[in-house]
């Protein structure tokens, strides 16, 4: 059985996934959830595949009404989550009954939250991804009155005593501070900056309000290119740190144009990009040099945690009969409510 959601207060929210990995070949940025760890965690907690469509909520308050019984999980920036008026836990699965309102308020540390719905959300795809692409005008930006279909509905799952939170899966939450430490590796053009490249690691940078999903602009002491001359357009990686002007450092994020002609001083690691996804204007950023080997090891550790979470979720959901297991209708789920 499918479910339905009605958006009541969209704030700034879109339906997205982990990104359009086939896009860059065709000149389109990868886009997708900026904080990939939180997006994956939300989907896993909702019993979905990592890459399933989910809602990305940036900075502003958000409210939606469940038109059928659903199961959700909210991750990302710390916030106040209420379901049917009851305070509910972030980073845990939450059962929502038909007619209840899910409200997300007060994102003040970190910037982006992720709301996954068990069974995920129906949305159009472009090159295999639902991720919005603002340049080509593709994607599902949520509006007041938008109705979303979920591929599955889940009967109410509720703690019989005092409606205490049912799940305590205990996933490590990323710390969200206004002082961010971001790991980078040397970029392919680091030599073009000579000694001034070291400034990246000794200076502190402030996140400009002109930052978005395409890139973050950072003010501070800027390394300077020592070489000159026209650089041929080249493919630039997500995370590329460039110095395009004398005013700001530019760190490209998942919405970056795939080609550019600026030398790449450094590249933010995959885990570092998740940290930057939560940077608010005014936050302070310090960069720390690492190696590709260490960055990959860090990324593997982070994904291993998510795999452990997936096992716990599978076990718990299996016991509760959540999901499409053949026996689920026979389980007395309603007895819990």
């Amino acid at each position: 059985m499918s479910g339905e959601i009605l958006i009541q207060q969209p704030g700034n929210s879109v339906v997205t996934d982990l990104g359009r990995t086939r896009g860059p070949r065709f000149g389109l940025p990868v886009n997708g959830a900026l904080d990939q760890y939180s997006a994956r965690a939300a989907n896993i907690l909702a019993g979905n595949l990592d890459n399933h469509p989910l809602i990305e909520i940036t900075a502003l308050d958000f409210r939606m009404k469940a038109e059928s019984d659903i199961l959700i999980a909210v991750t990302g920036a710390p916030l106040t989550l209420t379901v049917g008026g009851r305070p509910s836990s972030q980073w845990e699965p939450v059962s929502v009954r038909a007619g209840e309102t899910v409200s997300i308020r007060g994102i003040h540390r970190g910037l982006r939250a992720y709301l996954a719905v068990h069974g995920s959300i129906e949305a159009e795809t472009l090159l295999g991804s639902v991720a919005p692409d603002t340049v080509v005008g593709f994607g599902l930006q949520l509006k007041e009155g938008t109705r979303l279909l979920t591929r599955r509905s889940v009967g109410p799952v509720r703690q019989p005593y005092f409606d205490l939170p049912l799940f305590r899966l205990g996933l490590e939450r990323p710390s969200m501070d206004s002082d961010l430490l971001v790991d980078v590796t040397d970029g392919p053009d680091v030599a073009e900056f000579g000694e001034s490249g070291e400034l990246l690691f000794t200076s502190e940078y402030a996140v400009s309000g002109r930052s978005n999903h395409i890139g973050l602009r950072l003010g501070g002491e800027l390394p300077e290119r020592t070489s000159s001359g026209e650089v041929l357009s080249r493919g630039v990686p997500v995370g590329a740190v460039e110095v395009p002007s004398r005013e700001e450092l530019l760190v490209l994020h998942r919405g970056r144009g795939v080609t550019a002609g600026y030398p790449v001083l450094a590249v933010v690691t995959s885990t570092g990009l998740d940290v930057l996804a939560q940077a608010r204007p005014g936050d302070k950023v310090r960069f720390r040099k690492t190696t590709v080997a260490e960055a990959t090891a860090a990324q593997r550790r982070s994904r291993a945690q998510l795999e452990t979470l997936r096992e716990s979720v599978n076990t718990v959901f299996g016991l509760l009969g959540i999901g499409c297991r053949p026996q689920w209708q026979d389980l007395p789920v309603a007895a819990c409510s």
């Binding site: 990995t21 086939r22 860059p24 070949r25 065709f26 000149g27 389109l28 940025p29 990868v30 472009l126 090159l127 340049v135 080509v136 005008g137 593709f138 590796t185 040397d186 970029g187 392919p188 026209e230 041929l232 357009s233 080249r234 493919g235 630039v236 990686p237 997500v238 995370g239 590329a240 970056r256 144009g257 795939v258 080609t259 550019a260 790449v264 590249v267 933010v268 690691t269 995959s270 590709v292 960055a295 990959t296 990324q299 593997r300 994904r303």
Partner: protein, 251 residues
């Protein structure tokens, strides 16, 4: 785009999820054939964890998922692909030709006069040089799969605008440095806009989203401003293949 011998290359780390492969031969044509041939090979090799490759003029960015495949393995794939290029030489796919009607100058090309002045030639001469050449699409770039091409035979490189525009319309025909391009979608831009085509280049209901691919040929043709509306809404499509155009195939 098979080549007989891959140009020599250098491989650079580009973060934990990408490598940059640069072809470093003296011959820019060999470099271009090498990076595009390698990108095609990587695209078709079916290796798990490889997301894809972004080839441009002399370099290709190879993107991968570091959880599924290590940077060392990707390097090995790249080296294998470069070896295979030499073995798989065969008839090149025939390039298709595109005819692009353009209104030059005025509101359609606000930088036309500036470009003429900087080059020290007349506006008509700029248009003549721009329409005279048959362009090869070198790569698909930002934004939205723009066809990046080697520019017309202007006397000198075209400087970029000091203040990039916040919004350049779809169809804008621009030049900068020694390059030429058409904008498939509205986007900010620092290139000099000398004209605009009424044809729509981008169609997000079609895959791929733009009709040309690297190696295809493109010509600009001047039309009058009053003809803009007769083409408006039509899509850029390859011209029907004449035998003569097949003769232009490079292998």
């Amino acid at each position: 785009m098979p080549v007989l011998t891959a140009a020599p290359t250098e491989i650079y780390e580009s973060g934990d999820s990408a490598l940059r492969v640069v072809a470093i031969s003296e011959a820019s044509e060999d470099n271009w054939l090498t990076v595009h041939g390698l990108a095609d090979w990587l695209e078709n090799c079916g290796a798990e964890g490889l997301h894809g490759a972004v080839p441009t003029y002399d370099s290709v960015l190879v993107e991968f998922d570091p959880i599924l495949v290590s940077a060392r393995q990707v390097r090995a794939f790249v080296k294998l692909g470069l070896l295979e290029l030499g073995r798989s030489a065969g008839p090149a796919a025939a390039p298709r030709e595109f005819d692009v009607p353009v209104v030059y100058g005025g509101e359609y090309g606000p930088d036309l006069e500036r470009v003429a002045e900087h080059q020290g030639i007349s506006v008509d001469e700029v248009i003549r040089l721009h329409t005279e050449k048959t362009y090869t699409v070198r790569c698909l770039g930002a934004p939205a799969g723009s066809p990046m091409m080697d520019g017309p035979a202007f006397p000198k490189p075209v400087p970029r605008l000091k203040d990039p525009r916040l919004s350049v319309p779809a169809g804008a025909v621009s030049v900068a440095g020694r390059q030429a391009v058409i904008a498939p979608a509205v986007a900010p831009g620092g290139w000099c806009v000398i004209g605009q085509t009424p044809l729509s280049v981008l169609n997000i209901r079609r895959e791929p989203l733009v009709p040309y691919k690297p190696g295809d040929l493109l010509r600009f043709r001047q039309i009058r401003p009053e003809d803009f509306s007769t083409f408006a809404g039509l899509e850029l499509e390859p011209a029907s293949m004449e035998p003569a155009s097949i003769l232009e195939v490079r292998s």
